[in-house]
Symmetry: C2
Subunit: 118 residues, 2 copies
């Protein structure tokens, strides 16, 4: 407890405000998962939907649109026959790499912990 | 499947599964914000509620209970008069430090970008 106060004094920087800012944009149930699926190399709508457990086509469609509006995703239409639509993450979405990696690392650690406790 | 071959070729490590695992536990609108507020040094219920913009007492109460059940938060009752209840993050919640820090860093970067674009 004493050490905690000490740490807080030392840092003087609140985590809460910038974390609130981040979650405002990339929070919610699906956004980081969609970005992770694209990161994993899935490009086609059906492929992305299959990769993300439990997402409906309607929700994926609206998440992709929102991510495109916010500059995280590019929708690429290949105008050959048949027309092929692919989704890719933008360079700006790649600024989330540390967030994705730390979440993935934590997810692996947490699953290992649960396994050990069983 | 073509997509599987694609992943095997590219990286062999999927971000999606461990990120799904992580978000299953600490996803949602409030959990990381509550942990960040405790991290910032807020301890009393009212203090935590004031720190987190927009959270109701009912929701904060249920989030704290769930975080306590999952081993992220300790509820400490000081049995002097008047009785004082404080909340603290556990050592296990501190395993989320990299996640919190990377989210906070990204939040700061994103806000700066929006400012520059205005």
């Amino acid at each position: 407890m004493a050490s905690e106060t000490h740490i807080d004094k030392e840092k003087c920087i609140s985590l809460l405000t910038p974390i609130g800012d981040a979650l405002y944009v990339i929070g919610g149930k699906w956004k980081l998962r969609v970005i992770a699926a694209l990161h994993d190399g899935h490009k086609r709508f059906n492929e992305i939907q299959r990769a993300i457990d439990g997402i409906s086509a309607r929700v994926l469609s609206s998440e992709l649109k929102e991510l495109e509006l916010n500059g995280f995703v590019m929708r690429i239409v290949h105008t050959k026959t048949p027309v092929v639509v692919e989704y890719e993450i933008t360079d700006y979405a790649r600024s989330l790499n540390d967030v994705l990696q730390s979440l993935a690392d934590w997810g692996i650690m947490h699953r290992d912990k649960l396994k050990r406790e069983r």
